[in-house]
């Protein structure tokens, strides 16, 4: 621990400016109306870069053992799996639509 006193500190203000710039870009990207998929990719990419900056520099992951970084990354990978596992629910409504539509057509034909 004694070496901490003489340790070179990372340039935190540089990280601050990066985070600020990325936040401004994020808001600028979010305001105009365009394809939601493109917007989602851009915004998630920007958010992940900001989160990475916070974790690597502010939470000192850069200066820890690599094993810790691997442990910290696991929940993010599990979250990706979580979204994949929830995919069937994402399309639930369209599948319900598919069930309802033929029923509606049956009513239509009987009224003719």
């Amino acid at each position: 621990m004694a070496e901490n006193g003489h340790k070179e500190h990372p340039k935190y203000f540089r990280i601050f400016w990066w985070l600020l710039a990325l936040t401004i870009i994020e808001v600028a990207v979010a305001i105009p109306e365009y394809a939601i998929v493109l917007k989602a990719i851009l915004l998630i990419g920007l958010a992940c870069s900001k989160a990475a900056l916070v974790a690597i520099y502010f939470m000192h992951l850069k200066f820890e053992r690599r094993t810790l970084t691997i442990i910290v990354l696991t929940p993010f990978i599990i979250c990706v799996f979580l979204v994949i596992m929830l995919m069937p629910d994402l399309t639930l409504d369209t599948r319900l639509d598919g069930i309802e539509k033929p029923a509606a057509e049956v009513v239509d034909t009987s009224s003719h």
Binding site: A47, I71, T74, P75
Partner: protein, 216 residues
């Protein structure tokens, strides 16, 4: 510092420990890894509910939520993260008074954040965003309609984050009190680093919440 010597001893026999400085740091990291899953589950559920809204539709968040205020709240949390690392940097250089000042600024940032969130919630509830309903008119003045699940998902996620900030502020106040009583030195400051980990995590989660709930 006696546990540090124990660790040094075990290092000779076994593999080096993950965070040799302190077991508390490893404990906090493990808690944060678990907490990431809590927020991951909430955000994934939000995505599923929003995408599943289908024909009922989902009101564009910018019709209900004010982005300017929350962008400022994001800025505030980033600033408080910087003051937090500055506090740790100060105590690592042995400057106790400077650390206390920076911890105070960090707490101030957290308290202002909570105040703004309370202000935002008050206005949203007043405007008609409740657990069972959405406002009749959007911020642009146009009539809006969509899934009433907007309210509960919004309040659950921002509320859960707000509770984390509240916990963080209390945690920081405890550390600041310890700092005042002269507990921390250039050699002994793990506890400041650990509260920092928690605080940066809360900032990191807000970056995600801001993107997914407000901007997308």
């Amino acid at each position: 510092m006696e546990h540090a010597t124990t660790l040094d001893h075990t290092e000779d026999v076994y593999e080096p420990s993950l965070t040799p400085d302190s077991l508390g740091k490893l404990g906090m990291w493990i808690f944060l890894v678990g907490d990431t899953m809590s927020f991951g589950a909430l955000l994934a559920a939000y995505a599923a509910i929003r995408a599943g809204a289908g024909i009922v539709g989902w009101v564009p968040p910018d019709e209900i939520l004010g982005i300017n205020l929350t962008a400022f709240m994001t800025f505030l949390l980033i600033c408080s993260s910087v003051t937090m690392v500055k506090a740790l940097e100060s105590i690592q250089d042995g400057k106790v008074g400077r650390m206390c000042d920076f911890l105070g600024l960090t707490i101030l940032g957290g308290v202002i954040f909570l105040g703004l969130q309370a202000y935002e919630w008050y206005h949203l509830i007043h405007h008609g965003l409740t657990l069972t309903g959405i406002p009749e008119h959007g911020l642009s003045g146009a009539a809006i309609s969509g899934s009433t699940l907007f309210g509960p998902t919004f309040y659950a996620i921002t509320g859960f984050h707000g509770l984390h900030v509240t916990g963080g502020v209390i945690y920081l106040i405890v550390i600041l009190r310890n700092g005042w009583s002269g507990r921390y030195t250039a050699e002994f400051n793990h506890e400041v680093e650990i509260v920092g980990l928690y605080w940066h995590f809360v900032d990191l989660i807000w970056i995600m919440v801001f993107t997914f709930i407000y901007l997308l």
